[in-house]
Each structure stands twice: as C-alpha cells, then as structure tokens.
C-alpha cells in the first residue's frame, strides 16, 4: 500500500490544479506586493540580510568597546543600546524571518508539491509587517533606544525613554507577522500536500517547518500580548510590573519566556530541518531514522512550552518549580540528541561529497552539539546559579544561535541558492568562507565560556582588567568573523553575473523542489505531482509520478 498512488486520495489537494491565476503584469504586483511565495521569500532574504549587516555592525562596535577595559569607543548608554538592539534584531529581524519567512516560504510549498501557500495575501501582509518593524527598531536610536537587552526586564524598562516603546511596537509587529505566517504555513502543510504525500512521506524540512509554524502560532501570539502588556504598562502606567502598586517584575519574565523559550526552537527547528535535507543529498544515502527525526521535532515543539522558567532560576522561584523546570528542560536533551546522533549515523557508509552546504552542516553539527552540551550545564539548577547572566550564557546562546541557526542559514543559502536564482555560487569562495567563519566563530565564542565562569557578567560596557587579554583576543576574532561574511556577499553578487547556470537539480537531490526548473516557474508545478514514497531513497528510482521526465533524471555538476 505504501507505494500505491491511490492511497493518496485522502490526503493533499487533488483539485488545486484546476485554476491558475494569470501571472502579475506590473512591477509593483510582481516584485513589491507580490503574492508569490518565492518572491516573498527573496524579499525576506534581502530585508533580513540588510538587518543582519546592521545588527552585525552593532556587534563589531560592541567588540571594539570591549577590546579593552575602560574603553570609550562607545558611551555606556550607547553600548547598552547597541547590545539591546543587536540581540533584538538578530532574533526577530534576522534569524526568525530568514528561517521561517525566507526558507519556509521558498522551500516548503515546493517540497509539498503546492502551487503556493494557503493564503498568499496573508503571506504578503506578514512580509510587509516586517520592514516597518525593523525600521522602527533601528529608528529607536533617535529616541533613546532600549538598553535592557533583548529581554527588556522591567522595572527598569518602565523608566526608559520613548525608544523602548518603539521597541515594543516593533516586536509587536514582528509577533503579528510571525503568528500569521505560522497559521498560514500550518494550514498549507495540513491541507495542500500533493496527492500521496502522507505525513511520513513529507521531507524533514516540512516536518520542521510544521512544528515551527505551530510554535509561531501559539507562542508568538503570546509575545504580542506580552508586548502589548509592557507597552500599556509604560504608556498608561498600568501596574503589572510596578512594585509600588503591587505589581510583580517577575511576571514579565514568565510571560516573556513563555514566548521566548519556544522562540529558541522557532530559531533552531528550521535549521534542523534543512540539515536533515542537506545531509542525505550529499551523503548519497537514505537518512538514518527518518521517523525518529520527524517525531523528535514534534516532541521538541511540545516540550518547548514547558521549560520557560529555566531562564529564571535566580529569580526567586520556589524549589519545586526549579526542580520541575530542570527536569523538563533535561528531557529536551533526549529528542535533540536523537537528531544529532541520527545525522552522524547517516554519514556512516555514505558516498560523501564535501560540498559547501554539507561543510556548513558539519560545522553546524560540531558547534550546535557543543552549544547543546553547555545548555545541559545551564539546565542543572545548581550549575546555572553560578553561570546565569555571565559570559558563559553569552557564549552558550551564540553557540546555538550563531553556531546553530546562522550556520544553518548559510548551509541553506548555499544549498538552495541555485533553486532561488538559477545560478551556482562559487565553490572555492564558499569553502574559504566556511573555514574562515568556522575558525573565527570558535575563536570568538569559545573563550567567552571561560571568562564567564571566572566571573565576567553579561551586559557590561567595561570589565575587571584581569579579563583584558581574553577580551582582546575575542574582539580580534570577532572582526575576522565579521569580515568572513564579506566573502559570502561577494560570492552572491558575483553569481549574478558570472555564476554557472545551475540547471534544475545541481546536487542530484530527490525532494520535489528539485524536480522543476531553477528558478521555479511562476506556478511551480505544471501538473501537480503524485508522491509514491518517501524522499530520501538514494539509489532507487524517483518516487514521483506526473512530473516531466527530462527533469526526473539526476544530472551531476
């Protein structure tokens, strides 16, 4: 039954094939207010990329300030603003939009064999909430940008100038945008899969995107509510967090982390998904433990709602609360471990091509595993008591968000760039980029663990001179890390003029997005394909019916 196309009738959309709108004819409809998920994805990539550059420059400024103790590169207030906006921008304007808005939009509808997402108009709206949010966030520098970090713990945030209200509004817009995207993607995945694509035949990136979409829909709605709460607390003095009127500062930490812990998984699950795509393609063998990887995504998604207070072990929780959240947090290590071990096992006995996407994925595996391990340290309440709010945490979160999500984003970029643009990136430059980035990344963030353990707190503009030499080394590495990004930028611009034409399937992959020309045509699939089995059976004939045969061959570059 598994390979029988007739089992398809109860899933997916057999009839969406019928009606195709004519393609848009004006520039505005085609490139600005486009309804096409592929164009919207590119819009996300460009906008998010610009914010990545801006937020990255803020990080370099911070490292300049921290290159020595008692530096005056930035004033204390400007430094505080720099790290707050850097963190907020990297989380909400870079990683989440690039992974969900960018790759989710670009790849997910293609992988399920759909012509677009379920609600293209909502998709356009959710993109257009994003640039204003980013502009608001960066414009807050003009009105006293937020200083209390990306978490903005009150009560100090109640005493800050107008910029913090702009922060609230910016992130509120992002929250609405992400909620709409989540809802849209989830409906798309549930309702619009090609005939025959049962849940256990979905590509793993789609599994990851479905889980992410679910988290976005629930958790991000809560973020919007929390930010509305902070906004009215600031503007109308509503005493949620005001101690003098009986409010509780710790309440914010609960409502904020109830969003922001799932957000950690919103930022990493799509990266897990694209890692699960890239590994089998370049290892040329079926992914090891498909079901375990798929179900562990769902398990992580559900568990992520039950662990938020592990960010608050020093906030005066009851002991039983500390213990409960510690246990639940440690539980997440199990499904995450399953994924990492399954990926490594997939490499076992493959025919591995070490092309740039796989290099970035291996870099991801190495750094993310280390970040995950320090995460377990932080999950243990007594160890966390010492490490909390120190540079150890800064190092940990960059190992998972930079070493995990950003390495994932670059892996995905090198992998799907041909599908997006029709051209290949230069492989030699890509490898240089990888090694430079991988080495300088570790040189930047590994030493931070050490100075954090020794007693350097986070969110400080200066520090005890005993940490001076380590910080200087970290700053120099950070500048190299920043410079390594230029290689990608150059490579991307170069490919527009000199890039080799990619063809439909340059990597010889088997998921549906590679079964159509690059870049994908306006309505994706001429005929809706029929899916006969799972997507990772390298060495077997392609599991699709109803796709044109000349594309079904597997050319190699």
């Amino acid at each position: 039954m598994d390979h029988n196309a007739t089992s398809a009738t109860n899933t997916g959309s057999a009839v969406t094939g019928g009606h195709i709108h004519p393609p848009p004819d004006t520039f505005i409809k085609k490139y600005v207010f486009s309804l096409d998920h592929k164009v919207i994805a590119v819009q996300y990539f460009i906008t998010g990329g610009l914010f990545f550059i801006l937020a990255g420059l803020l990080a370099e400024l911070m490292r300049a300030q921290l290159s020595g103790p008692n530096n005056h590169v930035l004033s204390v207030a400007t430094y505080n603003q720099a790290y707050s906006v850097h963190g907020s921008a990297m989380v909400w304007l870079v990683i989440i939009p690039l992974l969900t808005g960018g790759f989710g939009n670009l790849v997910m509808p293609l992988q399920i064999g759909a012509r677009d997402v379920a609600f293209p108009w909502l998709n356009m709206i959710s993109f257009w909430l994003f640039p204003p949010a980013g502009i608001l966030l960066f414009a807050s520098f003009l009105y006293g940008a937020p200083e209390a970090g990306w978490t903005e713990y009150p009560p100090i945030t109640l005493q800050m100038p107008f910029g913090t209200s702009m922060w609230c509004l910016a992130i509120f817009l992002i929250g609405i945008s992400a909620t709409i995207t989540g809802l849209n993607f989830l409906v798309t995945i549930v309702k619009m899969r090609a005939p025959g694509m049962t849940y256990t035949r979905m590509p793993l990136f789609v599994w990851a995107t479905a889980t992410t979409a679910f988290l976005s829909m629930i958790a991000t709605a809560n973020l919007s509510a929390a930010l509305a709460g902070l906004f009215i607390a600031r503007t109308f003095h509503v005493p949620f967090y005001d101690v003098a009127k009986g409010g509780a500062p710790v309440l914010w930490q609960h409502v904020f982390w109830f969003y922001s812990h799932p957000a950690v998984y919103i930022m990493i699950l799509p990266a897990f998904g694209l890692v699960s795509e890239i590994i089998p393609t370049f290892v040329r063998r079926p992914i090891f433990g498909y079901k375990m990887i798929a179900y562990s995504s769902a398990a992580i998604g559900l568990l992520s709602f039950m662990v938020w207070a592990h960010h608050m072990f020093t906030s005066g929780l009851e002991h039983w609360e500390q213990f409960l959240f510690m246990i639940l947090t440690m539980t997440i290590a199990v499904p995450t471990g399953i994924k990492v071990f399954s990926w490594v096992a997939t490499l076992w006995g493959g025919k591995i091509r070490l092309d740039s996407p796989l290099l970035f994925v291996l870099g991801f595996l190495s750094t993310f595993t280390f970040g995950g391990f320090t995460g377990i340290l932080l999950a243990s309440v007594p160890v966390d008591i010492h490490e909390h709010a120190s540079y150890f945490v800064v190092a940990h979160l960059h190992y998972v968000l930079f070493g995990g999500s950003v390495f994932g984003i670059f892996a995905g970029m090198y992998y799907w760039w041909p599908k997006m643009t029709g051209r290949l990136l230069d492989e030699r430059l890509a490898k240089w980029h990888f090694w430079l980035m991988f080495i300088s990344f570790n040189a930047t963030f590994l030493p931070m663990h050490w100075i954090g353990l020794l007693g350097m707190p986070r969110r400080v503009a200066t520090y005890d001179p005993v940490y001076a030499s380590t910080n200087l080394f970290v700053s120099i590495s950070a500048f190299v890390l920043g410079a390594s990004m230029l290689l990608f930028l150059y490579n991307a611009l170069r490919s527009a003029r000199k890039g080799e034409v990619a063809g439909p399937n340059p990597w010889g992959a088997r998921t549906l997005e590679w079964m159509i020309p690059s870049p994908a045509p306006y309505y994706n699939f001429k005929d809706i394909p029929i899916v006969l089995s799972g997507p990772y059976d390298y060495g077997k004939p392609l599991p699709y019916a109803n796709i044109s045969q000349e594309l079904a061959t597997v050319p190699m570059h």
Partner: protein
C-alpha cells in the same frame, strides 16, 4: 548495491576509530577529574564544592559524547568520501534505521539526564535556608541600590556599604532584595543581582520580593560581589566585595563598626591632593553619574565643571557653600538630592587621600 569499496560498516577501520576516540575521551575525562578549578577560582563557600562536583560530573560524561560526535563525523566524512574513481551516481549504504542503536541513544542520554537531575536535586536545598542549618545561621540583609550594595547586620545601627565582612565557618542566611522606589530616590526600583563567583552563588535582587540564600564561607580572603542583572548606567561598575575574616578579625571589624556609629567621622585633610591621580579616579568612578562639563549637562547628577565658582549654583545639594572642604564632606558622607543618591566614600570605595585627589582635580575644571 555497490558496496565493494566501503565494505561492511563494522570493519577494522571503524573499530580503530572507536578505540582512538575512546583513548582521547579517557584522556580528556582524566583532565576533567584532575582539572584544578580552584587555581583559577577559589571554592570559598560551603556550596561551591558540591556545585563544582556537579560541574565536573557534567563534563565527565559530556566529553566522550562530544568526542564521539565530532570524531565520528570527521572519521565518516574522510573514510566515506566520494572518491574520484567512484561512479558518478554512486550511493551509500541502504540502511534506513536500526532499532537497537536508536534505542541506545535514546535511553543512554535519558539515564544520564536522570542521574544529573538526581545529583542536582540533592544540591538545590544546600543554598536555601531549610531545616536545622538555617535555624542556627546568622541572618543578614543584602539590598541592591543604584549602584551599590547595602548590607545590614543584626546589632549594627548603620548599614555597611559595598564591602561586606563575614566570619569564616559561620553559617549565614542572606535575605536578598532590591531597594524599592520609595527608598531609591533616583528613578524607581530596578533589578540587581548578587553574585559572588568564588561562592558559586547568585540571586537576583528583586524589588518587592525577599529571597533568602544560605551558605557558610569556608576560606579566608577577599572576593568580588558582581551585579549580574542589568540595572542601568552604573551596571558595568557595580562591584562590591566580600571579606571573609577569621573570627577574631571579624570581631575586631564588627567592634570598629559599632564604634564608628557612635563617633562622627573626622574631616579630611585636603592638603597635597594630586589632580592627575584625581582625574584617573574621576574617569573610573564618577563618570557613571557626572560629566566633567557645566552643571546643566546632567547625567544622574549634575555636571561638575566650575563647581567651586558657578554663580548660578553657589550651594551644594546639602545647602552648604560650594567650598573644597564641603565638597569633600559630600564625597565622604554621600548625599540625598532631588536627582538621586550620591553614595558615601565606603560605597564608592574611596580612601581619604582619594578624596583629596578628587577635590584637587575638581578644582582644575572650569
């Protein structure tokens, strides 16, 4: 399937790799066991020893996992690489899954997590006052202010600022909180955090909430208190220290405190103040709240240029004339003003000669 090149998966090369990684793991695990943490960060309280043990425990079991994940990844990537003479469409092993292996890497980490949780469970009560130990402890208060720490001792009328003294070997319960808006004239209450790395202890100071922590200082010495929760402009500089004294030293210090409360502090001799040294101090300590600029350029407090000859502001915040001796008095005792609180010399960590240097420097500002 074409498998002749790579052969069976469990061949001699694989086992060699397993053994090499095992040796690397064993060496690193040994390093974890003998690593001299105290050479870098002393274990100065009763809770720091078990917390470090737990920390070692995590690394002890974490290191082999990290070695095998990274090692296997690198080994497989090299061993099973696509070679130039392999056919273009060569594919790898067709194994889809392996129940036993998957069960192992599900149950293995789960068991480790349970062990870690149990271990942690027994340590959590150690740093909170529970049961007998807490009953016999001395109870003190630690209060976070912008931007200094205040400590209240039982039997002392006045608070002690920033430098806290504790007798070695005596259990302490520290009630930790932050100043509420009414106490902190500045701009309202904020969060702080009380962190002594050498004690492995940290507790956020939360306005409106008192959280007790419990420990016994075990090593004589001076350790840092660091604020680790963002609290505004002065956060980067919000450092205090805790001096763990032998019992006689502590008693002597305590007696001196009681004495100091009774007798007014002597005025400071301003002769011989060094303006250059004062400038260094000013940049390190005062610029958090003050600019070396005219009065109107406020930060938390007023700009201090022309302090002694500003016709618009002939008087200091306490109503006295702006003379060097009166400025020295404010530096010494601190002041409560409309804009905020100026901490006293103890809170700011100033000696009398520091004050003389600062006043000399302030005279050079016009």
């Amino acid at each position: 399937m074409r498998q002749e090149r790579s052969g069976p998966l469990l061949d001699a090369g694989f086992w060699r790799a397993v053994i090499v990684m095992g040796i690397i793991s064993a060496v690193l695990m040994y390093v974890v066991v003998v690593f001299p943490i105290t050479r870098f960060l002393p274990e100065a309280s009763s809770v720091s020893v078990p917390i470090d043990k737990l920390f070692r425990f995590c690394w002890f079991f974490g290191v082999p996992i990290l070695v095998y994940v990274n090692g296997m990844m690198i080994y497989f990537a090299i061993r099973y690489r696509h070679r130039p003479d392999d056919p273009m469409d060569a594919v790898g092993s067709q194994i889809h899954d392996n129940r036993a292996l998957e069960a192992a890497w599900t149950i293995g980490p789960a068991v480790l997590m349970v062990a870690l949780a149990v271990f942690s469970y027994f340590i959590i009560p150690m740093y909170y006052p529970t049961g007998q130990a807490a009953a016999s402890a001395v109870t003190m208060e630690a209060i976070g202010h912008k931007w200094y720490f205040e400590f209240r001792y039982p039997g002392l009328k006045q608070s002690v600022m920033n430098v806290m003294h504790l007798p070695v070997g005596v259990p302490v319960t520290l009630d930790i909180t932050s100043a509420e808006a009414t106490d902190d004239v500045l701009t309202g209450a904020v969060l702080h955090s009380f962190w002594v790395p050498e004690f492995r202890l940290k507790q956020d100071m939360i306005p409106g909430m008192v959280v007790p922590i419990h420990f016994t200082p075990t090593e004589v010495g001076t350790y840092r208190i660091i604020c680790s929760e963002f609290c505004g402009q002065g956060h980067s500089h919000m450092w205090g220290s805790v001096v763990v004294d032998s019992k006689p030293d502590f008693d002597r210090w305590y007696a001196a405190q009681q004495h100091a409360a009774a007798a007014p502090a002597a005025a400071i001799n301003l002769a011989g103040g060094d303006a250059a040294a004062g400038q260094t101090l000013f940049n390190a300590k005062c610029t958090v709240c003050h600019n070396a600029a005219p009065f109107a350029q406020r930060k938390v407090g007023p700009g201090l240029a022309g302090l002694f000859n500003d016709p618009a502001h002939p008087n200091l915040v306490n109503g006295q004339k702006a003379t060097p001796q009166n400025v020295a008095g404010i530096l010494q005792h601190g002041a409560h003003g409309t804009m905020g609180v100026m901490p006293d010399m103890q809170a700011n960590g100033l000696t009398p000669s520091d004050i003389a240097n600062l006043v000399a420097f302030l005279k050079t500002l016009h």
